[in-house]
C-alpha cells in the first residue's frame, strides 16, 4: 500500500479498495517500525490521524469527499498546528503548542487530508543537510550514513522512505528542491506569494515559500492545488485564483523551449551529476523540446546576496524568541539582560546564532549600504536576468545541487561549503520564481535532481514539463533500499 502515489490513493479510496483508516494505520506502523533509522519525524500524531481517517471514511461513504479526503500526509514542523507542538527544529520552541493552524494546514484539513505528524528539519530552516535540528540529524534513506539535504530533510526522507505519500515543506534558498534531489523525490517551490505564509514560522520573509515534496509531478500538482490559495492574513500572498495544476499535465511538450544556462554547468559541479542532467536534457529533446543556451550573468552573485538578505531578515524575524511570552526561557534569570542573553544563548543552535550575527552586522549603521542595499541591488539584477531569459525560453533547466548527498558531518566545519549546496537554487528565491527538482538518475549510486525553473505563476507548465519526463522515465519510481 505504501508504494501508492497520492493519485492512486485517491482512486483506491473512492473505489473502496481500502479505507483511510487502513491506509493511515499502515503508514503509522511503518513510521513506528522504520523511522528510528531516518529520524524524519519530530512528532507523530497517531491518535489524531486515526480519528481524522475515520471521519474521512465516513465522508467517503456518504459521497461527500473533498479532493484529498482520507489521504495521509506529513507536515514540516515549521507549519503551526493547533494543539500540536510546532518546534521549527529548535530547542527554543520545544515546548511551543500553537493555538492556531497555518493556512496551509487549514487548507489540507478542508481538503480532507490526514496529518500523520510533523517532520524534522534544520533549526528554523537554516541548513542544507538537516544536521542543525535540535532533534538530531535526519538520515538519507538511500544511505543512512548520508544527509538527506535540508532544510526540509525530514519531509524528503519521509517521502523517500515511503513513510508518507507526500509532505509539505518550505524553501527559502533551496530547502525543498535540494533535499528532493538528494532523496530522489519530486519537490516544488511555487512562485513567491502563491502559498500563504500565515502560520509558517518565518526564516526570511521575502524568500520563504511553502510547497510539496512527493514522489511524482502529478502528486505535486494535486498537493499544490490544495496548498496554494489567496489569503487575507498574509499581505504578501497573491490575490490570484488558484489553477487546477493537474489540468495540463498530459499536454504534449513538442516545441517547448528549454533554456540551459551555461553558468549552471561550470566549476564546482560534480561531473557525474552534470552527465545525468545532460542525459535528461537529451531525453527532453527526444520529447520534442528545443534546447536553447542562455546566460544568467549575475548567477555568481546569488549566494553572496542571499547570505546578506536572508540573515538580515532572519535577525529581525527571530527577535521575538526572547524568553518572555512563550518558548524556551532560561532558569532563574538574574535580570532582563540575563533573561535575554541566556534564553537566546541556550535556546538557539550554532547555525541560527551565526546567521543572526551575520544579519545584524549587515544591517548595522555604517554597513547597511555596503551589504544590505548592495545585496538588494544584486537581487534586482538577478531577477532581470531571468526576466530577459524568459523572453526567449519557456522553462530553464539545470542541476538542482552540485553534488549528490554527502556524508553526515562532512561539511559541518565549513559553513561556506555548506552554503554552496544551494548555488543553483538560491537565485529563483531571490527572483521569486517557481522551481522544481525531479529525479533524473544516479551519480555515485545516489539520486540526482534535475531542476526546472518556470516563469512567474507558470507552475502548471512546469508541472506539465516534469510530468512528461516522468511518463518517459522511471527514475522517480526507484525506491530507496531502506524503504523496503
Amino acid at each position: 500500500m505504501h508504494q501508492l502515489t497520492i493519485a492512486e490513493i485517491i482512486r483506491g479510496l473512492r473505489d473502496k479498495q481500502f479505507s483511510s483508516v487502513e491506509l493511515t494505520s499502515h503508514y503509522l506502523e511503518r513510521i513506528q517500525q522504520l523511522d528510528s533509522q531516518f529520524n524524519s519525524f519530530i512528532t507523530v500524531t497517531s491518535e489524531q490521524a486515526l480519528k481524522e481517517a475515520a471521519t474521512a471514511d465516513a465522508r467517503l461513504a456518504q459521497g461527500d469527499a473533498p479532493a484529498l479526503c482520507g489521504v495521509p500526509v506529513a507536515h514540516k514542523d515549521i507549519f503551526c498546528t493547533n494543539g500540536v507542538r510546532t518546534s521549527c527544529g529548535s530547542k527554543m520552541l520545544d515546548n511551543f503548542v500553537p493555538p492556531y493552524d497555518a493556512t496551509v494546514i487549514h487548507n489540507f484539513q478542508q481538503a480532507g487530508a490526514i496529518s500523520l505528524g510533523k517532520t524534522n528539519m534544520d533549526e528554523f530552516a537554516m541548513g542544507s543537510s538537516n544536521e542543525t535540528s535540535y532533534y538530531g540529524a535526519v538520515k538519507n534513506p538511500w544511505d543512512v550514513e548520508r544527509i538527506p539535504g535540508g532544510s526540509s530533510g525530514g519531509s524528503a526522507a519521509a517521502v523517500a522512505a515511503l513513510l508518507a505519500p507526500g509532505a509539505t515543506a518550505t524553501d527559502t534558498g533551496g530547502s525543498i528542491r535540494q533535499p528532493a534531489a538528494m532523496t530522489g523525490t519530486t519537490g516544488l517551490k511555487p512562485t513567491y506569494g502563491r502559498v500563504s505564509r500565515w502560520g509558517m514560522i518565518a526564516f526570511a520573509s521575502s524568500l520563504d515559500q511553502g510547497g510539496p515534496i512527493t514522489r511524482t509531478a502529478e502528486d505535486a500538482a494535486l498537493m499544490l492545488s490544495i496548498m496554494a490559495s489567496p489569503d487575507a492574513k498574509d499581505s504578501t500572498c497573491l490575490d490570484r485564483p488558484v489553477q487546477d495544476y493537474t489540468a495540463q499535465l498530459n499536454d504534449a511538450i513538442a516545441g517547448l523551449k528549454i533554456g540551459v544556462p551555461s553558468e549552471y554547468f561550470g566549476e564546482g559541479l560534480d561531473s557525474e551529476v552534470g552527465a545525468r542532467v545532460q542525459d535528461a536534457l537529451k531525453e527532453y529533446e527526444k520529447l520534442g523540446a528545443e534546447l536553447v543556451e542562455i546566460s544568467l550573468p549575475h548567477s555568481k552573485l546569488a549566494v553572496p546576496a542571499y547570505y546578506v538578505i536572508a540573515p538580515a531578515e532572519a535577525s529581525a524575524n527571530l527577535s521575538r524568541f526572547d524568553g518572555v511570552r512563550y518558548g524556551y526561557r532560561c532558569e532563574n534569570p538574574a535580570d532582563l539582560r540575563d533573561l535575554y542573553m541566556r534564553s537566546r544563548g541556550e535556546g538557539f543552535g550554532e547555525e541560527v546564532k551565526r546567521r543572526i550575527l551575520v544579519g545584524s552586522y549587515a544591517l548595522s549603521a555604517g554597513y547597511y549600504d555596503a551589504y544590505y542595499n548592495k545585496a538588494q541591488q544584486v537581487r534586482r539584477l538577478i531577477k532581470q536576468d531571468f526576466v530577459d531569459a524568459f523572453d526567449k525560453v519557456d522553462v530553464i533547466m539545470g542541476p538542482t545541487a552540485p553534488n549528490p548527498a554527502f556524508k553526515l558531518g562532512e561539511k559541518n566545519a565549513d559553513p561556506v561549503a555548506m552554503y554552496l549546496e544551494d548555488i543553483y537554487t538560491i537565485a529563483t528565491n531571490l527572483a521569486g520564481l517557481p522551481g522544481m527538482s525531479i529525479p533524473c538518475g544516479f551519480a555515485h549510486g545516489l539520486p540526482v535532481g534535475l531542476q526546472i525553473i518556470g516563469n512567474y505563476l507558470d507552475e502548471a507548465r512546469m508541472l506539465n514539463v516534469a510530468h512528461q519526463f516522468q511518463q518517459a522515465s522511471d527514475w522517480h519510481q526507484q525506491t530507496a533500499p531502506a524503504a523496503e
Binding site: 507549519f79 502560520g199 514560522i201 499581505s235 527577535s319
Partner: protein
C-alpha cells in the same frame, strides 16, 4: 546676553481606529491586561501583519489638514530593539518613505499674533505594550493591550521660539486631530504624547545649539514647564562655561527639573530595514481626493466663518473653535437662541467655568445647549435679568430642569410692571431721606453716580427681580422731580 530658545516637537497621536494597525484586536482603552492582544500582537511564531486601511485614511486626513504632501508610496520598516513590551523585538514604523511629507500650520498666540510652524513629516507606526513595575514581587508585568495600536508620529521643524509657542502648536495639533475625529486626543490616557527637542543660542545666531530631547510629556502644563526649566538649565550651563550634551532627559514634575536618562543606551543602532512582511502602500490620486472631499470643516476655516457669520471678534472665534465639540455646542446655542454674541459670552464664561470647576468636558456639560439657549432667550425677551440668569444657570447645572421651569419654580421672573416698580422706588426714596438730600445738593454731573445706591436698594427689595432698565428710568424721573 540675550538668549533664544529653539524648540521642535515630536508628537505621538494614537489613532481612534476600531482595531489595531496590523491585527483585528480591539484598541479600546482600559480593558483587563492582555485581553485585547491577539496572536499577532503577541508576536506568536508564524503570525503576520495585515495593514488596517482605516489607519491610512486617518493619516491621509491628517496630512491634508496640515497642508502636507501625501506619500503616495509609503514603506514600513522594522526598528530593531529588545524590550519586554515590544513583542516582535522590532517596532514596525516608517522612516525613508513616510505617509505624510512636508507641510505647515498656523498657530495662534495669546497676544493675538500668529506664526507658521513647518511640519518635517508624519509617519504611521505601531505602539508598544506597557511594562508594569508594581505588585509583581521583584518582577515586571507586561500588558500588551496597547501593543499594535496605530500611532502617527508628527515631527515639526525646530520653528518654535518659546514654551508658549510650543504649547500653542501642540494645542493646534490637538485641535486638528480631534476635529478630524482621528484621535480622542486624551492626554491623560496617553492618546497624545510629546517629546520636545530643546536648544538655546544667542539671539541673532544662525547655527542651532546642541539639543536635548525631553521624553514623554503628557500635559500642556508640563510641556510648558519642562521646556522653560530645560532652556534655563542650558542657559545657566553655558553661561557658567559648560557645554550642553546631546542626550535624552526626563522631566520630573514634582521637582520641576529635567534630568539625564542613562546615556549608556544612547549608542542604539536600530538597524532599520524595510519590513518584508508588508508591501509598499501605494495611494492613488483618486483616493487622496476622495479623502480630501470627506474632510470636515477644520479649526481655521471654522474660526473665519464664526467671525463672519456670527460677528464675533477674532479672539472669541478662536477660543470657541479650538475644540470641535465646544464649537458645535456654541453653534447649537446660537442657532436656538438667535443671540450669537450672548451665546459666545455664556459658552466662554459660565459654561467654561462650570466645566472647569466640575472637571468635565463639553459633551458632559450639566447644562446642555438647548437649556442654555432657552436661558438666553429669556434674557433676550426680558423675562429675567442677566444677574438672575446666573442663578437660573446654577439651578440648571444642578439638574433643576430647563430655564422656564427654574424661573417658574423659584419665582424669578423679572418685574417689569410699572406700578410695582414705582412703588419700590417710592418706598426706597421715602426710607432714604439723607441720601435724597445729598443727591439734591450734589453737582449735577455727580448725580448719575449717586443713583447707584438707590438702584442697589431697590434691587435688594425686589430680590433682584426688578427690571434694571425700568428702575433706572423711573428712579431718575422721580429723583429729578424732587430737585
Amino acid at each position: 546676553m540675550e538668549w533664544e530658545v529653539v524648540i521642535g516637537l515630536e508628537v505621538h497621536v494614537q489613532l481612534a481606529t476600531q482595531s489595531k494597525i496590523f491585527s483585528g484586536a480591539s484598541t479600546a482603552f482600559g480593558a483587563d491586561p492582555n485581553t485585547q492582544a491577539c496572536a499577532v500582537d503577541l508576536a506568536m511564531p508564524g503570525t503576520l501583519p495585515v495593514p488596517n486601511e482605516e489607519a491610512f485614511r486617518f493619516a491621509v486626513m491628517f496630512g491634508l489638514a496640515m497642508n502636507a504632501e501625501i506619500g503616495k508610496r509609503s514603506v514600513f520598516e522594522r526598528k530593531n530593539y529588545f524590550y519586554p513590551d515590544l513583542p516582535k523585538g522590532y517596532q514596525t514604523t516608517q522612516l525613508e518613505q513616510p505617509i505624510v511629507g512636508e507641510g505647515q500650520i498656523e498657530i495662534h498666540l495669546e497676544d493675538g499674533s500668529s506664526k507658521t510652524v513647518r511640519l518635517h513629516h508624519a509617519h504611521l507606526e505601531e505602539d508598544a505594550g506597557k511594562s508594569l513595575h508594581e505588585d509583581f514581587h521583584g518582577m515586571s508585568g507586561i500588558d500588551l493591550n496597547r501593543a499594535g495600536t496605530p500611532l502617527i508620529e508628527i515631527v515639526s521643524e525646530p520653528d518654535m521660539r518659546s514654551a508658549a509657542e510650543a504649547v500653542a502648536y501642540l494645542k493646534k495639533i490637538h485641535s486638528i486631530v480631534t476635529y478630524l475625529g482621528i484621535s480622542d486626543g486624551d492626554m491623560s490616557q496617553g492618546s497624545l504624547r510629546c517629546d520636545a527637542n530643546v536648544s538655546v543660542r544667542l539671539k541673532g545666531e544662525e547655527e542651532l545649539g546642541t539639543r536635548t530631547e525631553i521624553k514623554n510629556l503628557n500635559s500642556f502644563r508640563f510641556i510648558e514647564k519642562a521646556i522653560k526649566v530645560e532652556a534655563q538649565r542650558q542657559i545657566d550651563l553655558i553661561e557658567d562655561g559648560g557645554r550642553v550634551v546631546q542626550e535624552t532627559r526626563l522631566y520630573d514634575a514634582d521637582k520641576n527639573e529635567t534630568r539625564s536618562m542613562r546615556s549608556k543606551e544612547v549608542a542604539n543602532d536600530y538597524r532599520y530595514f524595510p519590513c518584508p512582511d508588508l508591501l509598499p502602500v501605494v495611494l492613488s490620486d483618486e483616493y487622496i481626493e476622495q479623502v480630501r472631499g470627506d474632510l470636515p470643516e477644520l479649526p481655521d476655516a471654522k474660526c473665519a466663518r464664526f467671525e463672519k457669520e456670527y460677528g464675533l471678534s477674532a479672539y472669541d472665534a478662536d477660543q470657541l473653535t479650538q475644540e470641535r465639540l465646544t464649537a458645535n455646542y456654541f453653534e447649537q446655542v446660537a442657532a436656538k437662541s438667535g443671540e450669537a454674541k450672548l451665546a459666545a459670552n455664556w459658552v466662554m464664561g459660565e459654561v467654561a467655568a462650570l466645566l472647569n470647576r466640575e472637571e468635565k468636558s463639553i459633551e458632559q456639560s450639566p447644562v446642555n445647549a438647548e437649556h442654555l439657549a432657552g436661558l438666553i432667550a429669556r434674557i433676550k425677551d426680558g423675562t429675567i435679568s442677566s444677574k438672575i440668569a446666573k442663578q437660573v444657570f446654577e439651578a440648571m447645572a444642578n439638574g433643576d430642569g430647563d430655564a422656564d421651569a427654574v424661573i417658574e419654580a423659584k419665582g424669578l421672573k423679572q418685574v417689569s410692571d410699572t406700578g410695582a416698580i414705582e412703588k419700590l422706588v417710592d418706598d426706597v426714596i421715602a426710607a432714604s431721606s439723607a441720601q435724597v438730600e445729598n443727591y439734591r445738593n450734589a453737582d449735577p454731573d455727580k448725580r448719575p453716580k449717586m443713583m447707584g445706591f438707590f438702584v442697589g436698594q431697590i434691587m435688594k427689595a425686589s430680590k433682584g427681580q426688578a427690571n434694571p432698565q425700568m428702575i433706572n428710568k423711573i428712579l431718575k424721573e422721580k429723583l429729578d422731580a424732587l430737585l
